[in-house]
Amino acid sequence: MAHSEADVLAGLAEIVNEETGLETSAVEGSKSFTDDLDIDSISMMTIVVNAEKKFGVKIPDDDVKDLVTVQDAVDYIVKAQQA
């Protein structure tokens, strides 16, 4: 079953919290993974692997560089679920 946009944001926030210790409330759509959340490339890949597993989607490496903000990732996952 596809997750709603709100579910994806909440799930992503949990993954980011597990990986970085950041509060889930800090993981807002407008935030940039690198500039605002200070997530390095290896943590970003860990988050991607965990998101793929949690939401049952595939996020090819070439697409990861386009996921600048949390909302980019949420939109990508919502769309990928429907594919």
């Binding site: 990986e19 210790g21 597993k53």
Partner: protein, 419 residues
């Protein structure tokens, strides 16, 4: 001019205790660390050994941040917890994690026997069951043998070199020796030295069982590790970490640090005889002990105590006992010998560091820890063994050795003197 090397801080996470002090107290009380494992490994994989000396989860719980722990193999978690304890004990780390250490004069000399075996094998399971996309990006830095050293180095910003010794069960005695070199040659003022291991896994139990190295005393795990006993039948797997802060005497005195003991010297040799079996007459082990005494300006008669490698294997305990006996000569009765693996089990790459801590505390407290589980000493062993209860060491200037030997023929010995 070479610098004198002193011990100013101790930290440990072992099957006996969550700290160096707890481990020491449990050892003095003769506490066995081994127990039947609370899992189905023996049954599931038909492993003939179902016991080991594990570190209870509560010993490290809450000592690392969740995110910190998640990014580290268990061997690195043990390492970081014990290193922080040792630095705090040395007065070099405040509660908020800050320190006044000069990064370019601070080093780490760490050791492991096996490295991140849990991380490697968990990743292998993930690969087989879920495919390569699910293998975590941090797998490589978590499994590499220098992972524990790097974790400590980053924690304290050690920039005078962060090195890792891998020489099986001699690893963390050798890492103390390499730390000695760093300080005595003037390359560093402070070195966090030691070793850690977390390798109690079905694959290691199966592999060590396959070579008949492990005790099979499944009906009585707590008495299975019995160095020098006539009925010893193998070692008992242990896990954990030992950390020692070594410092140049000038640096320690200048800041008014408490000094536990002096690391007077160390010896290194190799059997180059057989990949696992010791050279049977202990010739090269003896040479390593002599080299350690020589570097420390010590004589056999100065020795009040020896913490023996003594793993409780039928073959391994004898060459070392011959070598110690030959080293001591006419002084064999005045040096008290302890086999503390009877309590801790065998921490592999962590063993030497934990046993060095016992040796340092034995000199500092003038009390040699016991060897438990000996019903009858093997008649081939002619040593003054401390059995069942601690034994007092005399007053005055004393010296002690801690021996470690490893697969590959590695012989490493550290010599300590009372401060």
């Amino acid at each position: 001019m070479s610098s004198t090397v002193v011990v100013t801080g101790l930290g440990a996470v072992t099957p006996l205790g969550a700290t160096a002090a707890e481990t020491w107290q449990a050892a003095l009380a003769g506490t066995p660390g081994a127990h039947t494992l609370d899992n189905d490994w023996a049954e599931k994989y038909e492993i003939p050994v179902d016991f080991a000396a594990t570190v209870p989860a509560e010993f490290t719980a809450d000592k690392l941040k969740k995110v910190e722990a998640k990014r580290l193999d268990p061997s690195s978690r043990f390492a970081l917890v014990s290193a922080r304890e040792a630095l705090a004990d040395a007065g070099l780390r405040s509660e908020d994690g800050t320190s006044d250490l000069d990064p370019e004069r601070t080093s780490v000399s760490w050791a492991t026997g096996i490295g991140g075996v849990w991380t490697l094998l968990d990743a292998w399971d993930t690969l087989r069951e879920e495919g390569s996309r699910r293998v975590m990006p941090l797998t490589v830095p978590m499994l590499m043998p220098n992972g524990p050293a790097a974790a400590i180095g980053m924690d304290i910003a050690a920039r005078a070199g962060v090195q890792t010794v891998v020489s099986a069960c001699a690893s963390s005695t050798e890492s103390l020796g390499q730390a000695y070199e760093m300080i005595s040659s003037g390359r560093a003022d402070v070195v966090v030295a030691g070793g850690s291991e977390s390798a109690i896994h079905p694959i290691t139990l199966a592999a060590f069982s396959s070579m008949r190295a492990l005790s099979r005393r499944t009906d009585s795990p707590e008495t299975a590790s019995r160095p020098y006993d006539v009925d010893r039948d193998g070692f008992v797997m242990g896990e954990g970490s030992g950390a020692v802060v070594l410092e140049s005497e000038e640096h320690a005195r200048a800041r008014g640090a408490r000094v536990y003991a002096q690391l007077a010297g160390w010896g290194l040799s190799n059997d180059s005889h057989h990949i696992t079996a010791n050279e049977p007459a202990g010739v090269h082990a003896l040479r390593a002990m002599r080299l350690a005494l020589q570097q420390g300006g010590l004589e056999p008669g100065d020795l009040a105590h020896v913490n023996a490698h003594a793993t409780s294997t039928p073959v391994g305990d004898i060459p070392e006992s011959i070598a110690i006996n030959q080293l001591l000569g006419g002084h064999v009765d005045s040096a008290l010998v302890s086999g503390t693996k009877s309590m801790t089990g065998h921490l592999l790459g962590g063993a030497g560091a934990v046993e060095a801590i016992f040796t340092i505390l034995a000199l500092h407290n003038r009390l040699a820890p016991p060897t438990i589980n000996i019903s009858e000493v093997d008649p081939k062993v002619n040593l003054n063994i401390v059995r069942d209860t601690p034994a007092e060491l005399p007053a005055g200037d004393l010296a002690a050795l801690s021996n470690s030997f490893g697969f590959g023929g590695h012989n490493a010995v550290v010599a300590f003197k009372t401060a």
